[in-house]
Subunit: 464 residues, 2 copies
Amino acid sequence: MIELDFNNILYAVLGPVHSISDGELNNTIANNAHICAEIQEERQQGKHPWMDLAERGIEDILGLARSKAKRWENFLVLGIGGSALGTRTLLEALKPPFYNLLPAKERNGYPRLFVLDNIDSDETQALFKLINPQKTLFNVVSKSGETTETIASLLITLKLLKKHLGKKYTQNLIVTTDKDNGFLRRLVNKEGYLSFETPKGVEGRYSVLSPVALLPAAFIGIDIKRLLQGASILDQYIQKTAADKNPAYISALINFIFDTQKHKNILVIMPYSVKLKAFAEWFRQLYPESLGKRYNIDNKEVFAGPTVLNALGVTDQHSQIQLYNEGPNNKLIVFIEVEKDKDDMVIPASVKDDSALFLAGHSLHQLMLAEKSATEYALVKSRRPNYTIRLKELSEETIGALLYFWQLNTVYAGKLYRVNPYGQPGVDAGKRATFGLMGRKGFEKEIADISDTLTKDKHWIMRI
Amino acid sequence: MIELDFNNILYAVLGPVHSISDGELNNTIANNAHICAEIQEERQQGKHPWMDLAERGIEDILGLARSKAKRWENFLVLGIGGSALGTRTLLEALKPPFYNLLPAKERNGYPRLFVLDNIDSDETQALFKLINPQKTLFNVVSKSGETTETIASLLITLKLLKKHLGKKYTQNLIVTTDKDNGFLRRLVNKEGYLSFETPKGVEGRYSVLSPVALLPAAFIGIDIKRLLQGASILDQYIQKTAADKNPAYISALINFIFDTQKHKNILVIMPYSVKLKAFAEWFRQLYPESLGKRYNIDNKEVFAGPTVLNALGVTDQHSQIQLYNEGPNNKLIVFIEVEKDKDDMVIPASVKDDSALFLAGHSLHQLMLAEKSATEYALVKSRRPNYTIRLKELSEETIGALLYFWQLNTVYAGKLYRVNPYGQPGVDAGKRATFGLMGRKGFEKEIADISDTLTKDKHWIMRI
């Protein structure tokens, strides 16, 4: 299902300094192996509830999607960050490109899927003009039920829906939020909207296998059962595998070593598939938000965490590779490759010219894989460490496994960095400041502190 | 038109270590001021031909677009890297979001615009199924006329067009390439396609103000005259401004100082506007591909160049800000803010609840600007340097100015890093390797070297 090729990080391939030797790698694997058992134990204690998502029942989601999905022209998610990126990932990976441009028939009658994950007025205006509110099912997603941006979008939506639908407007809303707490749950209890629960203890960036993303996915006909099966297969494989054969642990360890001991503080994730572009953005939240922490678990100030850079093959060869090959050797590059493409196209011999003829008869996918190998080769020549994750194909199963793999990797990495992979204490100051600036009661102190902090003697302003 | 606020990089605001003092900044500005005059002089010698693009005639483009644009249902660009990102930038910044989903009437009769900048078979299949070839104008763009990916897409396109249109197929093609050299020019000369010239000496990443992006832009009704006027206003302002008042020079200098002397080797570009998302991707090519160089102009090995990370406000506050605030202090963050929004929306008081009511009566754009200030404030609290570029509004003029500003900044930065901001020697090895792997004659040596380099004893492969 998944193959991992770690060879291009080795001393034998790259030479000294920017590499790791077999001996060093084997030692480090052995020395840290205990973290696999620790996490396993913590899981039994309920400390990693996202790990069990693949085993939860999804009959309610499937039942609803089966009976209702095809009634809607649009399914519109209001959510941001972890409430949006999982859904985007599944849409892009498992439905055809340009999905929303396809006529209903080619969507097999399933609705278009939009994700509004910003409060940009241009975008919001354009989207609300584009859709017919009567034919749109709005899915409001927020674990806390208190996300400012999502509430702002919801307030606009409610006004629109009431205007077009009167009292029946509640039928066009589904809320996904915590079972007990928060504004959205209060609203559900008061207004009687249909709702789903975000699983307790599962944060946004670990919630892709919960109703947060499964509900939208099911509504556009993605086989979420197979998605969970893929995750489950990976989970079971890891559980019965020794640490030194555990690829999620080993890749976390490699990422950690190259960041903390080999001066590669940037982790590039570069899939060679347009369908995995959103996946790379999902990962760009998962890893940095989990590992980018000021304090470690011993309460020591560490300012830890790799910076993730997402790129797309082959497109970004024409944008990023100059820097990766010739700039500072401060990156570890992780490629994702898809072995087979069901829908491959042959390049025809339309022009008789040496600049074109060598391509003829090859397929686009062959060309893509050749370019990836060529990039890998050029990077090795420049002594830039990289490794490859190879999916057999793009399917519900392999995507489920891939998502589970990286979440697991993130929790292993948390152990290695000795940081808590959950929580995001570093966004609190900004949230409170927004409340202050928007005039929310109880946040008056923030306004004073903001003007103290930001406006001391603004003399470095230039105008054109 | 543009305002630059550099205050959040100062010692007085941030305290020691991660900042620069007024004195240090003023000294460095004075000490390097000569580069402004140097570049001016080089420009007279014809060494920076892109700088004069805003003054070139565009009557041919305007004439063609005026008479032909509305005849087409789709305008499809085949191009990659610098041949794609400028076009994407103009489309997203200056047309409404979801442009391709709008009915023809709301597009004022202009065609949809697609940019195929990958060789992904899923994407290519889906796109070619989506469009009616007879109603699609294909614009093949490559400065060298030899770009492998673009040629592959063209070969597929030619087969499709000939099948659907027979001999008339040439009417559906416009080629933008070098006047004299390359496969595409040979093809134009042989087949008689309509063509435009890429200006001599202007590389892809500096070509947004040339036919490369202006032709597609004109075909979807963007006022390219005003775009060039915006660039021209900025150009003229800079030409008559002393170095110590030149914001393009000063921002280049700040970026340089923080990368090379303050350990901020990551430059984050974070617009607070969905419409500037593609702009950030354009910049992510421009800066790293120009400055990411192994050798400097004295032929000394330097491995220079900042790594650019693109982010989007407010969305990525829920993905990136945890890392920016609490991770390693290795970033300089550049915000782009838009002062006014023509199409702003008021947040209504749809629900009477303290979690929602404080938002009511404010507009979405106010909320966005408040969140940006709040983020800025939180970063300063964590002593993370950042500065803001503020556009009065999003218009052809301000976008033209912004693009020109950053290209100029890049050339100044080249001087400071002492690297050639043109050329991309680091991508050559990969290109040659691709030729080898695809069996092109004359590249047999590459295959041998690839297998030597990549396949030594592949023992670190794991499978799930």
